[in-house]
């Protein structure tokens, strides 16, 4: 139990650090740069109240002290207030509310799929230790060492533009001749799945190889343990011997999953931009184009908290799977 509390403490600390960092980032930046950004904002179609709110958020116009600004910022966060998007004149939270489901659907599905398939494949490849992986290694290297958005370009180009297998733009069909009503209806869902295929494929391709190789290496390391040899010496069926090794090899793999999830999420968000996918990633691009600071920072916070949440879940899974982690309490 103490282990869990300790971990929980770490997440609280990390979350707090992210929130604070977010607050100070805007203030640490060179003043002129921020003035530029705010000057642009004043030119935008915002009502005076909104501009005052922004100035308060960035501590430029208002005469409040830094601690009181910080407290206002914290209490705003606690109420789900992420500020106001300057380019869309809407609360950042409502923009995220409408785009986050797309991202969660796409990135969540693709990442879970890649992790499960990759881990299973890693178990098989590690157990068999035959030539299968030698043939796969160059391909795996390719996918592992190419940045997500570059891979996205290549996928879009080959399977989308030239291959014409799947649409490579937008989250669903918004063409002139499309008559789709967003919602739980057949044509719309089909369209969403079609449009999600290539971005999802990119995320899967980019992360799959990492899981396969990681799990294979853990399998091989674990198979050198005596208890795996004991399982073989007991005359257990092959698959049970493999299961003993896999059950132990999965533990470090879960830690690795937690470690690399922030890279996977960032990469997936960037992939959305390539495919004009209407998720959070696309909003990042919009925010950069329009200099929409509150939106960019709001997204940053949401992503950080998502990553921390995934880490927490991975930690819980680890504790559930490893009796030794439970014991260390």
């Amino acid at each position: 139990m103490r282990t869990l509390l300790r971990r929980l403490g770490f997440y609280l600390l990390a979350g707090f650090a992210a929130v604070t960092l977010n607050f100070f980032l805007a203030r640490l930046l060179p003043g002129s740069a921020l003035q530029n950004a705010l000057a642009k904002l004043r030119g935008a179609n915002l009502d005076p109240a909104a501009i005052r709110a922004l100035e308060a958020q960035y501590g430029t116009g208002a005469d409040h002290s830094l601690p009181s600004q910080y407290l206002t910022y914290l209490s705003g966060l606690l109420h789900g207030d992420l500020g106001l998007s300057t380019s869309q004149s809407a609360p950042v939270s409502s923009i995220l509310g409408s785009t986050l489901p797309w991202t969660l659907g796409l990135v969540g599905t693709a990442t879970a799929l890649a992790f499960v398939v990759g881990t299973l494949a890693g178990i098989v490849v590690g157990w068999k230790r035959n030539g299968l992986l030698d043939g796969l290694l160059p391909a795996a290297t390719f996918f592992q060492s190419v940045p997500y958005f570059i891979l996205a370009f290549l996928v879009m180009m080959t399977l989308g533009y030239f291959g014409g297998f799947f649409p490579y733009q937008n989250g669903y069909d918004i063409g002139r001749h499309a008559h789709l009503t967003p919602g739980w209806n057949g044509p719309f869902v089909t369209s969403v799945i079609e449009h999600g295929t290539l971005p999802a494929l990119t995320v899967v391709l980019a992360s799959l190889a990492g899981w396969v190789i990681g799990m294979r290496n853990m399998m091989i390391t674990t198979m050198d343990e005596d208890y795996v040899l004991v399982a073989a010496a007991k005359g257990l069926p092959q698959w049970r011997v493999a299961a003993v090794a896999a059950r132990n090899a999965i533990l470090p793999t879960i830690s690795n999953f937690a470690l690399s999830i922030s890279l996977v999420v960032t990469g997936s968000l960037v992939t959305e931009i390539v495919f004009t996918y209407p998720g959070v990633g696309w909003q990042i691009y919009q925010a950069i184009l329009t200099g929409d600071y509150p939106l960019l920072q709001g997204i940053l916070l949401v992503v950080v908290f998502t990553v921390l949440a995934v880490n927490l879940v991975a930690d819980l899974a680890y504790v559930a799977l490893d009796p030794r982690a439970r014991k260390e309490a």
């Binding site: 005596d226 208890y227 073989a232 003993v244 132990n248």
Partner: protein, 351 residues
């Protein structure tokens, strides 16, 4: 001790690696294990004793390769050459007939599985008709056999002490009442008191259940106490094979003599402990001839180029006239050579 044989190893050769990079780790090993007998395998680390034992069970890891010989197991359904057996046959024989106790129970028990699961998984694989309740009953019985209460059934290995883990390992090995239990330094990781307790229990269990033991250790003094027959290995070869008493009182191979001189006798006169000069050779660079000759105080000229075979010593004759169940791989004993006094003692005479 002349029971019928359960395990016969003939001319077993084991290599590490295949092809030009390969190294021979065990050469022409021949041994017989009889029912209910304790066969000791002793030698320095790297002498090939563990390699031999794991090769016999076909459990030797890559890059180990068996390159010759045969291993005949006398099971309830007749004789089986384990080197010819396919995976399914091996699986059937394993644990049911031949089980293994590993050196470190710390590493030999699955850290994420409970004790009961590890005790019963072999039952599940080999005794399909047993129900869950019967398996559990058997697990309790096995733990009791090694002096552990049934409240430990739901424990994980890390919750047990080292001695307890080794006891669990022994209980596991006896789960299917095998004919042969191979023990690879089963007590080296334990303190002396626990070691003694466990070995005493083990010997009692052996007498009660009648299994035979192949006991691997570098501790020759321990073997002399426990084993019926002892094989001494050096650089991958068995250099002397004899019953424990003869080996102790009248060694024939200079290496055995060296080993005996490296530990103090509890009884009898005080001898100067000498040890053996030099260190064992690397398998990749074995000396020509007898591998021991560079360290041997009695080396002859021919020892440097001719490899001695394991044969019955010609001199001196055994006093009891019995067909000597002993052999040594040493040119001193092939006849015609002067045998130095320490290697010419006979059983029963004062050394």
């Amino acid at each position: 001790m002349t029971g019928e044989p359960v395990l016969e190893v003939r001319d077993l050769c084991v290599d590490y690696g295949v092809g030009p990079g390969g190294v021979r780790a065990v050469t022409d090993a021949t041994l017989t294990l009889r029912r209910g007998e304790v066969l000791g395998l002793a030698g320095e680390s790297g002498s090939g004793k563990s390699t031999l034992a794991y090769a016999v069970t076909r459990l030797l890891r890559a890059p180990g390769v068996i390159t010759g010989g045969e291993v005949r197991f006398h099971g309830p359904d007749g004789v089986l050459d384990l080197l010819e057996a396919d995976a399914a046959t091996l699986r059937r024989v394993r644990w049911d007939q031949i089980s293994v106790v590993f050196q470190s129970a710390m590493h030999a028990l699955n850290p994420v599985a409970r004790i009961d699961a590890q005790l019963t998984d072999a039952l599940r694989a080999h005794r399909a008709r047993l129900g869950a309740a019967e398996r559990r009953e058997r697990a309790v019985e096995l733990l009791r056999l090694v002096g552990i209460g049934e409240e430990r059934l739901r424990s994980y290995p890390h919750e047990l002490s080292g001695g307890m883990r080794q006891r669990v390992m022994i209980a596991m090995a006896l789960a299917l009442e095998p004919r042969v239990v191979i023990m690879d330094e089963p007590t080296t990781a334990l303190d002396v008191v626990t070691q003694r307790e466990i070995l005493d229990e083990l010997m009692q269990l052996k007498d009660r259940l009648g299994f035979a033991i192949v006991f691997i250790t570098h501790d020759l003094s321990l073997l002399i106490e426990l084993a019926d027959t002892i094989a001494i290995m050096y650089a991958g070869r068995i250099v002397e094979l004899a019953d424990a008493q003869r080996l102790f009182h009248s060694p024939r191979h200079p290496y055995t003599l060296g080993l005996l001189n490296s530990f103090p006798a509890l009884h009898g006169e005080r001898v100067r402990m000498e040890g053996i000069p030099g260190s064992p050779p690397a398998l990749t660079a074995l000396p020509a001839g007898c591998a021991f000759h560079p360290r041997c105080p009695f080396a002859l000229a021919r020892c440097a180029h001719d490899v001695p075979r394991l044969t019955e010593p010609a001199e001196p004759a055994e006093p009891d006239g019995a067909p000597a169940a002993r052999s040594a791989a040493c040119w001193l004993h092939t006849g015609g050579e002067h045998v130095p006094a320490p290697l010419a003692r006979v059983l029963g005479s004062t050394p």
